[in-house]
Amino acid sequence: MVQTQTASATKQLTMVQAINDALKLKLEQDETTLLLGEDIGKNGGVFRATGGLYDTFGADRVIDTPLSESGIVGTAVGLAVNGFKPIVEMQFMGFIYPAYDQIMTHVSRMRMKSMGRFTVPMVIRAPYGAGIRAPEVHSDSAEALFTHMPGIKVVCPASPRQAKGLLMAAIEDPDPVLFMEPMRSYRAQRETVPTDAYTCEIGKGRRLHEGSDISLIAWGAMVAIAEAAARKAEAKGISCDVIDVQTLYPLDRDLIAESVQKTGRAVIVHEAQGTGGLGNDIVSLINDEAFLYLRAPIERVTGFDVPVPFFALEDQYMPNTARVLKQIERAVNF
C-alpha cells in the first residue's frame, strides 16, 4: 500500500491547496516570480491561497500591497516589462473594476503598441462567482469583460488538478493571463494532484463525459452543475457530451464544434448574466461551425439579467441542476 501510493507522487488536494501548490512551485523554480496583492502576505490571502508563502519566500517576493487595485496592476506592468513575472491577486473579481483601465489600455495592449518590444507576462488571479454567501459585489462573474479585450488570455479551472496545471501554464505564458478561480469550488472537492510541476495546455478544453444526444458546455463552478445534470439526463436516457471549456479566451473552437457536430444540440451553462455573457460567443461559434448539424436551437442556462443579488437570493440567481436539465429536455424534445 505505502509503496504504490508513492507519497511524493500525488496528493489529495482541494482547489485552493492546488493553487497554493502551483504558486509555491513557481516561486521555487523561477526567481523572477513575485506575488502581489492585498492581504496575501502574513495573512496568506483571505482564502489562504497564498498561505505559508510569505514565511517561505519572504516579504520581497510575497508582497502585501496597499489597498489599490489600479496601483497593483499598474506597478505590476512596470515590474513585468522589466524582467519580473508578477502574479497579482485581486481579492475578489468584483474588485477588479478599479484596475479595468490598466488592464484594458496597458496590460492587454502593451505587446501590440510596442510591436513586441515591451511585454507584460503577468497573471491576474481573481476568485469569482456566487454561492458562498458573501456580501454584495463579492460574487461577480466578469469573464465577458475580459474575453472582449484582445491581448489577454482568460483561464478558468474546474477542478484541483486542472487548477494547478493551468496556473503553472499561465505563469509560464509569455502573455498576460486572467486566471479566474471559482470560489465555490475552492474547497468543494479533493482530487489526486501530482506533487511535481506540470502544466495543462492553455487554449484547450476537456471532454469530461462522452455522449451523443447533446453537448453540455460549461466552465468553473458550473462544470459540476453540468455534470450533475448530465447524470440526471443519462438516467432519462439522454446521452450527454460534457465539455469543460477551461480557457475562455481563446476558445477551443475545435472541441466545441466537433461536439455539437456530433450531437446536434447544445446547452451552455454559465453563471454570469446571459445578456453579454460568453455563452453568446459560443452560440456564435456553433452557428459558424455547426449550423447544418443543429437539430434544435442552442439553449443557454445563465444567471438572470440582474445584478448578482444579495446572498439570500443568490441560489435563485444561479443556474442549478434542475434548470439545466429542463433545457436539456427542451432541446432534445424540440
Partner: protein
C-alpha cells in the same frame, strides 16, 4: 509631519478632562446620550457576532473598539444630513436612525437591509472600498446647489485612503468647496495590512494638504473629541466654509470579519494599552458625577431588549421574494427581463 497633526483629545484615557474649554458642554445629558448609543451598538455588535457563529446570519464585520468614533460623529449630524457608510459603519448609521431589524437583515444577505427609514438619508453601505467618497461629495454639492445648509458625512477606513476614489473625491470637494465631512476611522489595519504598510505618511490628516482642505487628527476613542470635532466640521460646512477631513485614530478590537483571524497578522501586544471607549466614558462619568447605576442599568436593559426584538423580527421576516431580484433593476421591467421572470416563476411552480 506627525507634529503638524498631533492627536487631539478632550478627555484622557482615565476619563479626566484635558481640554477645559469644553467643560460646560460636557453635560450629564450628553454623557448619557453618548453612553446609551455606544452601549446600544455594542450590544448589537456582540449579538451579531454570536448570530454569525450560530449560522443565523452571514459573515459579519464587527466594529467593537470603534464605538466612540461612530457614535460621536453620527450624533453630531442633523436630521436632513446625508450619511455614506461602509460595511463597518452600521454603528454610526444605527445612531443616526437606521432600523436595527433591517441592519440584521442586511447581514443576513437581505437587500431590504439597505433601505433606510423613509426620509433618512443613509446610503447603502459601500462595499467596494472608497467608492462612496465621491458620492458624498456629489450629494453635498447638490445641497449647496439647492441652497440648503445640509451636509454629507462619509465614513471610510485607513485602507481606503490608498484608492484612487479617495483622491478624486477629496480633489472635487476642494475644487467645488462642497459641504462634505470626510470622517476617517484609522483603526490601524486594512484587514491584515497595518497602516505603516498602507502608506508612507505618518498620518491621514496630512493627506488633506494635497487638496488644501482643512484637516484634524483626533483620538477616535474619546467620544467627546469625536463629537465636538465633527460638530465643528459640520458647522463649518453648513456655513459654506467647505469640506474638512477628520482622522479619528481608533482600534478595531476584534477580527476584520467573522471569517478573519487577526492572530495571523496582528502582534498580541498591540492594542492592549487602548482603553475601551465605553469604559473611558464611564470613568469620566464617574469622576464628574454623571454616573448613576440605576439609570445605566435601565439603559442596558432597554438596549438588550431592543436587540432581542430586532433579532426576532429579522428571523420572523417574510421569506426573501424572488420578484425582488427582478423588480428593482430598472424603473420599468424591460420585456426580456419580464420574460425571464415569468419563465422562472413557472419553473419554480413546476418544481415545487
Amino acid at each position: 509631519m506627525n507634529n503638524q497633526f498631533p492627536i487631539t483629545k478632550i478627555i484622557d484615557d482615565d476619563g479626566t478632562l484635558l481640554d477645559t474649554s469644553y467643560e460646560e458642554q460636557l453635560t450629564e445629558a450628553l454623557s448619557y446620550h453618548l453612553y446609551h448609543h455606544m452601549y446600544r451598538i455594542r450590544t448589537f455588535d456582540r449579538k451579531a457576532i454570536s448570530l454569525q457563529r450560530q449560522g443565523r446570519i452571514g459573515t459579519y464585520p464587527p466594529f467593537e473598539g470603534q464605538e466612540a468614533a461612530q457614535v460621536g460623529s453620527a450624533y453630531a449630524l442633523g436630521e436632513d444630513d446625508w450619511v455614506f457608510p461602509t460595511y463597518r459603519d452600521h454603528g454610526a448609521t444605527l445612531t443616526f436612525g437606521a432600523d436595527m431589524t433591517r441592519m440584521f437583515m442586511y447581514w443576513n444577505g437581505r437587500v431590504e437591509g439597505c433601505v433606510p427609514p423613509e426620509g433618512k438619508r443613509i446610503f447603502p453601505a459601500a462595499v467596494p472600498i472608497a467608492t462612496q467618497i465621491p458620492h458624498a461629495v456629489g450629494a453635498a454639492w447638490a445641497e449647496k446647489k439647492k441652497g440648503t445648509d445640509n451636509i454629507a458625512l462619509v465614513y471610510f477606513g485607513d485602507g481606503a485612503t490608498s484608492e484612487g476614489d479617495f483622491h478624486e473625491g477629496l480633489n472635487f470637494a476642494g475644487v467645488f468647496q462642497t459641504p462634505t465631512v470626510f470622517f476617517n476611522q484609522n483603526n490601524g489595519y486594512a484587514i491584515s495590512v497595518p497602516f505603516e504598510k498602507q502608506t508612507n505618511s505618518a498620518t491621514i490628516a496630512q493627506k488633506a494638504i494635497a487638496y488644501d482642505i482643512p484637516s484634524v487628527r483626533i483620538d477616535g476613542n474619546d467620544c467627546f473629541a469625536v463629537y465636538f470635532t465633527t460638530k465643528e466640521a459640520i458647522d463649518a460646512a453648513r456655513k459654506g466654509k467647505g469640506p474638512t477631513l477628520i482622522e479619528a485614530v481608533t482600534w478595531r478590537t476584534g477580527a476584520h470579519t467573522t471569517a478573519d483571524d487577526p492572530s495571523k497578522y496582528r502582534p498580541e501586544h498591540l492594542g492592549t494599552d487602548t482603553v475601551d471607549p465605553l469604559e473611558r466614558l464611564e470613568r469620566f462619568m464617574k469622576t464628574y458625577g454623571h454616573w448613576n447605576d440605576e439609570k445605566i442599568a435601565e439603559i442596558e436593559q432597554t438596549c438588550q431588549a431592543e436587540v432581542e426584538t430586532a433579532v426576532e423580527q429579522m428571523e420572523n421576516a417574510s421569506q426573501p421574494n424572488v420578484d425582488d431580484m427582478f423588480n428593482h433593476v430598472f424603473a420599468e421591467l424591460p420585456d426580456h427581463l419580464a420574460n425571464q421572470k415569468l419563465a422562472y416563476e413557472a419553473f419554480l411552480k413546476e418544481e415545487s
